[in-house]
């Protein structure tokens, strides 16, 4: 690594954030996961939590049991122990079915118009990439996937919707994601996925982890309903 990376900065009274680079990549995600696992195994009760993301890792510690000097040293050690170049073929590929349509994807037509292509082409382009799980957050089971083909990349809505249905498959800039639960949201919706993405009673509670890949496959309305999709989420326009 170069350009002064990795950098360690204070985030708060009990947190340091490590910046590994300014550009995300699958190799970098792999390095961040390794460093995160290393810290998790190496350190005992002073470690409270870890938040891996695109290019950074937030390390949350107990300031009554340790201090930022000791944690910085631990982080430097963990980075040294992580392999310089990591094999990133170890992730799994998860297939998620999507019912792409105008009735399940209220923004599909607008995206097609903006790109001057047909809605069928938008669907084909979205489905042809294996997306990397860069990070999980915002809500349980919400995976940030990238990167979306620039032809169908679209900025967030200027006014977010107050309710996005469970399973909404959406695009924001060059990221794509599936909303695991109904929530407010400002991403562009192009379809619905019937697969549950977060179940606290299952182990593991979600089908993917950072470093895995996600591939979307198109299904029709009937398959969507058979797979447990909810009819009321279709045309439920979704203000």
């Amino acid at each position: 690594m170069s350009d002064g990376f990795p950098k360690i900065a204070v985030a708060g009274e009990n947190s340091l954030i490590i910046y590994f680079s300014d550009r995300p990549s699958s190799a970098l995600s792999s390095l961040i996961v390794h460093t995160s696992e290393h810290l998790n195994h190496q350190f005992g009760e002073w470690l409270i939590d870890l938040v891996p993301s695109y290019t950074s890792l937030l390390v949350i510690y107990d300031p009554l049991l340790t201090d930022h000097h000791q944690v910085r040293r631990a982080i430097r050690h963990a980075i040294q122990q992580s392999p310089a170049s990591t094999d990133h073929s170890e992730g799994h590929t998860i297939e998620l079915p999507v019912y792409y349509s105008v009735e399940s994807g209220p923004d599909l037509t607008r995206l097609a118009e903006a790109a001057q292509i047909s809605t069928e082409e938008v669907i084909a382009i979205h489905g042809q990439t294996d997306y990397l799980v860069y990070t999980i957050g915002f809500a349980p089971g919400f995976a940030y996937l990238g990167e979306v083909d620039p032809r169908i990349a679209a900025p967030r809505l200027t006014t977010p919707r107050t309710r996005v249905p469970r399973g909404a498959v959406a695009i924001a800039d060059r990221q794509t994601a599936v909303y695991p639960a109904p929530s407010p949201g400002g991403w562009n919706i192009i379809g619905l996925c019937p697969t549950p993405l977060f179940d606290p009673n299952l182990e593991p509670s979600m089908p993917f982890k950072i470093g895995d890949s996600v591939r979307f496959t198109a299904i029709d309305r009937e398959q969507f309903l058979q797979m447990g999709g909810c009819e009321t989420d279709l045309k439920s326009e979704i203000l």
Binding site: A9, V10, A11, G12, E13, N14, S15, I17, P24, S36, I48, D49, L50, V51, P52, S53, Y54, T55, S56, L57, L58, I60, P63, L64, D67, H68, T135, I136, G137, F138, A139, P140, G141, F142, Y144, A181, S183, F198, P200, S205, M206, K209, I210
Partner: protein
């Protein structure tokens, strides 16, 4: 499942009463937030007055209106917001424990200062944890009486074990926090993208009054005042710690609280000190706050001192 569950019966749940324990830790990587008490100090005082440590679950009562009936003999204490408390229609003090007998009725009125009260019982309330904690996070559908993120409901039971009668404990008025003034000075540990805010913008931020908007909840407190701009235009989403102050495009600060999202992409200038978040959690909409910058070394010292103060503050034994 368990046998007949006994404890305190919920007659009226009030505006929003939530089960909260210390919080949920170790699950940020799958997107779970921590939850936990908005005013940690009041929470731990309620527990200490009942002889519990910080791991016991309490009820966080927003603004008041909670009515309970005891089914067993136990002790309870209410701390936090200034709130009228009555047992069997007799007005009694907060910040001390009270012995309850089966059939006793406990009523919390409406908060006159502050906005969150904490009710603890000896031994803690016994709810099935989800991901290691009973802390209620409504947005995630986790924690609470049924583990599905719901607030208390009329007809529910707060399970707890009967306890033997021991002397009641009280915290002297001199040590109790005062919530009457609806203002606060909040210390900020500088960090994150601090360098992306110019000197002039930082001076403006630390010398301006900010008002709490109506948009304040367990996730974050949205403030209104001088707009602050960062030179960072695009930031890749990154981990958010407790108290982080983020500035969206409109330059109005948002302080991220116990139910914050785990990651976000707005520039942050640093994070409010946890002990000051306790005070902030008790402010009502319209309150004015000021921010004061501090470094990490001072923050560590302040946290250690606060912890020592808590453990070394004496409690008064009451025999009535």
């Amino acid at each position: 499942m368990r046998g007949i569950v006994k404890g305190l019966a919920v007659i009226q749940p009030g505006i929003q009463s939530l089960v909260q324990d210390r919080g949920r830790f170790g699950f940020h990587a799958i997107g779970l937030t921590t939850g936990g008490p908005m005013d940690y100090s009041a929470f731990r005082w309620a527990n200490r007055l009942c002889g519990n440590d910080d791991s016991a679950a309490c009820i966080e009562v927003l603004m008041g209106g909670l009515v309970l009936q005891a089914q067993i003999a136990t002790q309870i204490a209410v701390t936090g917001a200034e709130i009228p408390l009555a047992i069997n229609h007799q007005s009694v003090d907060c910040w001390r424990s009270h012995c309850l007998h089966p059939g006793d009725r406990i009523e919390l009125g409406h908060a006159t200062a502050g906005c969150r009260a904490y009710l603890a019982a000896t031994g803690g309330f016994d709810f099935q944890p989800s991901f290691g904690s009973a802390a209620t996070v409504v947005r995630e559908g986790l924690g609470g009486p049924n583990g599905d993120g719901q607030a208390l409901k009329a007809g529910g039971i707060l399970p707890c074990s009967p306890s033997v009668e021991t002397p009641c404990l009280a915290l002297d008025k001199a040590y109790q926090p005062a919530y009457l003034e609806n203002t606060a000075s909040l210390r900020v540990v500088l960090g994150y993208q601090q360098a992306s805010f110019s000197q002039a913008q930082q001076q403006l931020f630390f010398n301006s009054d900010y008002r709490l908007s109506a948009d304040c909840d367990r996730m974050g407190f949205r403030l209104a005042g001088a707009a602050i701009n960062s030179s960072t235009t695009s930031l890749l989403s990154e981990g958010i710690c407790l108290g982080a102050i983020q500035f969206p495009g409109d330059g109005q600060p948002i302080v991220l609280m116990r139910d914050r999202q785990t990651i976000g992409g707005y520039p942050k200038i640093g994070s409010v000190l946890s002990i000051d978040l306790d005070r902030m959690a008790q402010l009502q909409p319209g309150a004015t706050v000021r921010f004061e910058p501090i470094g990490i070394e001072r923050a560590h010292n302040l946290i250690h001192l606060s912890e020592r103060r808590f453990h070394n503050t004496p409690l008064i034994e009451i025999t009535d």
